[in-house]
């Protein structure tokens, strides 16, 4: 009697699990305004390195993927609120963010650079040389925190997206933009960036290392571990390198 009950229970659980498994959609949030990692292409579809990685991860996790664009400053609150299970949005790791979400292993690495108009007098950017200049970067980022903390001498323009900061730089409204060297590379090689350059050596602004991580809900360790395993598989079977090659002529891992 007990055995029969137990068997039924196990069957029920397995059945339920299997059904949930096949039917479950995995909602993944990205920013959608951070080329080449996430952006809206000519067909008005989300595209980019982060989007491709998200979709490949979903495939490895055997789930239907739904990648949605969420404004940068709403990404973590939305995750906590349960609107999606995972964020793939080139997010750096900070102690404050780690309190809000579980971080996976890093999925690419960057350095932080200033970009601006080539100027022989400005070979190095520091609070002295930046005095009186207008500096732009995306709001609510580690860059914004860094500028607010170290560049009181400069005027800061914090934009909702990095694309807006680049546009302001292209229009000459700001002198310098602080960003990662990969998005900088993408912008500098675009038409709008032809007259611009990386100014000075890279900055060390984040003691936890300058890398991008995927986030899952706080406490969702099974998903975190599954994503880590899937990331390793992506790298080992060459998928990662193919995606990498779509956006960069070198390895960013």
């Amino acid at each position: 009697m007990f055995k029969t009950l137990l068997r039924l229970l196990i069957l029920g659980c397995c059945g339920g699990f299997a059904m949930a498994h096949s039917a479950e959609r995995l909602r993944v949030a990205t920013e959608g305004a951070y080329p080449p990692f996430s952006f809206t292409n000519e067909q008005s579809q989300l595209a980019g390195f982060d989007v491709d990685i998200a979709q490949e991860l979903c495939r490895r996790l055997e789930k239907d993927c739904e990648v949605i664009a969420v404004p940068w400053n709403e990404l973590l609150p939305g995750l906590a609120a349960g609107r999606y299970a995972m964020i793939v949005a080139s997010m750096a790791k900070t102690p404050k963010r780690e309190q809000q979400a579980e971080f996976t292993d890093a999925y690419y690495r960057t350095r932080n650079v200033f970009i601006g108009r080539r100027d022989p007098r400005l070979t190095q950017v520091n609070p002295e040389t930046a005095r009186g200049k207008t500096l732009a970067t995306q709001a609510d980022t580690t860059y914004a925190d860094y500028l607010q903390q170290h560049y009181p001498t400069a005027t800061l323009k914090l934009t909702a997206t990095l694309t807006e900061a680049f546009a302001a730089l292209a229009r000459g409204e700001v002198a310098l933009v602080l960003t990662d060297n990969l998005s900088a590379f993408e912008f500098l090689r675009s038409k709008a960036g032809q007259k611009l350059d990386i100014i000075g050596p890279p900055l060390a602004i984040n003691e936890t290392g300058e890398a991008a991580y995927i986030q899952v809900r706080k406490g969702d360790l099974p998903l975190r571990d599954a994503v880590n395993a899937a990331l390793r598989k992506l790298w080992l079977d060459g998928t990662y390198h193919r995606i990498n090659a779509r956006y960069f002529p070198f390895s960013i891992y």
């Binding site: 350095r111 060297n181 032809q194 050596p201 890279p202 070198f250 390895s251 891992y253």
Partner: protein, 454 residues
């Protein structure tokens, strides 16, 4: 018996529980050692596997990245060196610049240094190309003469450096990974060997312990049981052998000792039985001697007095009639004198024989001494006693004794008394009978004279 038990105690033997405990401890130690070895091996395997995932894979990934990017750096340098399109050259230089920045992540400081060195050369080449672009359009193919010799040589050197780095890098991690998996396989084999050896050892130990229990415990118990059964039939023949374990040796010893003791007891019992029988016979003989007159085979005076006293008491208590006859052979002294004691004895024997033949079972006939006899007649009053006495007197008088010296007739005188209210005790009754006997003698012998009440 004591000697044997002390011999058994002298050479001590292993005891059952400590011996089994020893087996269990050996098994425990074996199991413990195996568990420890297995745990160590498993831990090592786990560490290796963990290492493969957490350290080795990231290392491989980093090396691959380094190799790829070093090769890319060379390509970017070539584009800067030979590329016709300034936009393309600029992009290549930017990419090279980013790779130079990323070199900060390299673990190997020399790689970081070399990459920065190479990027310096690429930057200088780019500057030269930009200068030339400013001077005028390209007139010659993008080869040597376009740039000054130093930069070209520097780039050749840089290319060689990159080539060298790549070739050295591409092996380490893979070799480590391969070695790691080989070590895992070795450890797994070792674990398997340990499992096989230990389970074999434990099985062997188990079999040995079962055999040991069979030989050292079960068989001795069966022996002892069989021995105990044997004791009933042949206690003397029981032979118990020495056993391996002290406890069972003690049991065997106890059974043996029990058999020996039982055998001794049996012997003693037989002896005692014999002795008792002999004593009973001796006692019966003594009793007979004490209560019997050797000449006539009649009861003697002592027996007569004891029994008569009891009879007298009973008769008086229950008021049952009781009579007493005193008999005396007439002129016995002259028979003795004339024919000798031998003939006198014959006469007495004849008297006893005739009396025994005529009297009832309950009548008590005894020789009181010499030629004097007494007969106690229970439940017989004076009149009946007188009939008995008269018949006895007559029978004796008519009897002829056949002796060596010819046929002989003799007579007896009888004094008769009966229990009456004035009789005080047995002595009184005897005295009365004596008086009557005396009267019979006085009145001429060969007659019965009852007691006369006055």
């Amino acid at each position: 018996m004591y000697a044997e038990s002390s011999i058994r105690n002298e050479n001590r033997r292993p005891r059952l529980v400590p011996t089994l405990l020893l087996g269990a401890i050996i098994a425990g130690i074996l199991g413990g050692v195996a568990a420890a070895v297995l745990l160590m091996v498993q831990y090592d395997i786990l560490q290796l596997a963990e290492e493969a995932n957490r350290i080795l894979l990231p290392d491989i990934q980093a090396e691959v990245r380094t190799v790829v990017n070093l090769e890319r750096l060379k390509v970017f340098g070539e584009i800067v060196r030979h590329g016709a399109d300034p936009v393309e050259r600029r992009e290549a230089q930017l990419a090279a610049q980013i790779l130079a920045m990323d070199a900060v992540y390299e673990k190997d400081a020399s790689i970081k240094h070399r990459v920065n060195q190479v990027y310096g050369i690429i930057e200088r080449m780019a500057a030269h190309r930009a200068q030339q672009d400013a001077v005028g359009p390209l007139t010659e193919p993008a080869q040597g003469p376009l740039l000054d010799g130093k930069v070209v040589n520097d780039w050749k050197e840089a290319s060689a450096i990159l080539e060298n780095l790549v070739q050295h890098l591409s092996v380490d991690a893979a070799v480590t990974a391969s070695e790691g998996s080989a070590r895992i396989a070795r450890q797994a084999k070792r674990a398997m060997l340990v499992v096989v050896l230990v389970s074999g050892g434990l099985a062997l130990l188990f079999v040995i312990m079962i055999l040991f229990v069979q030989c050292a415990v079960v068989r001795p118990i069966l022996h002892a049981t069989y021995g105990l059964k044997q004791i009933r039939t042949h206690p003397g023949a029981l032979q118990m052998r020495r056993e391996r374990l002290q406890e069972l040796d003690d049991i065997a010893g106890a059974v043996g000792a029990f058999g020996a003791a039982l055998s001794q007891i049996n012997e003693r019992t037989a002896d005692l039985e014999r002795e008792i029988t002999e004593r009973q016979q001796a006692q019966a003989r003594l009793m007979e001697l004490a209560t019997t007159d050797s000449l006539t085979g009649l009861h003697n005076r002592r027996y007569f007095m004891d029994t008569a006293t009891q009879e007298f008491e009973r008769a008086r208590r229950y008021q049952i009639p009781l009579s007493l006859l005193m008999i005396d052979a007439d002129r016995f002294k002259s028979i003795n004198d004339r024919f000798g004691h031998h003939i006198g004895d014959e006469v007495l024997k004849a008297l006893a024989m005739i009396g025994q033949r005529q009297l009832r079972e309950t009548d008590l006939f005894a020789r009181l001494g010499g030629e004097e006899f007494a007969i106690l007649l229970p439940q017989t009053d004076l009149a009946d006693a007188r009939v008995v006495a008269e018949r006895l007197r007559q029978t004796i008088a008519e009897h002829t004794v056949d002796t060596e010296q010819g046929l002989l007739n003799f007579t007896v005188s009888l004094g008769l008394s009966s229990l009456n209210p004035v009789t005080a005790d047995l002595d009184d009754l005897l005295r009365q009978a004596d008086v009557a006997l005396y009267q019979a003698k006085q009145n001429g012998r060969n007659r019965v004279e009852p007691t006369l009440f006055r």
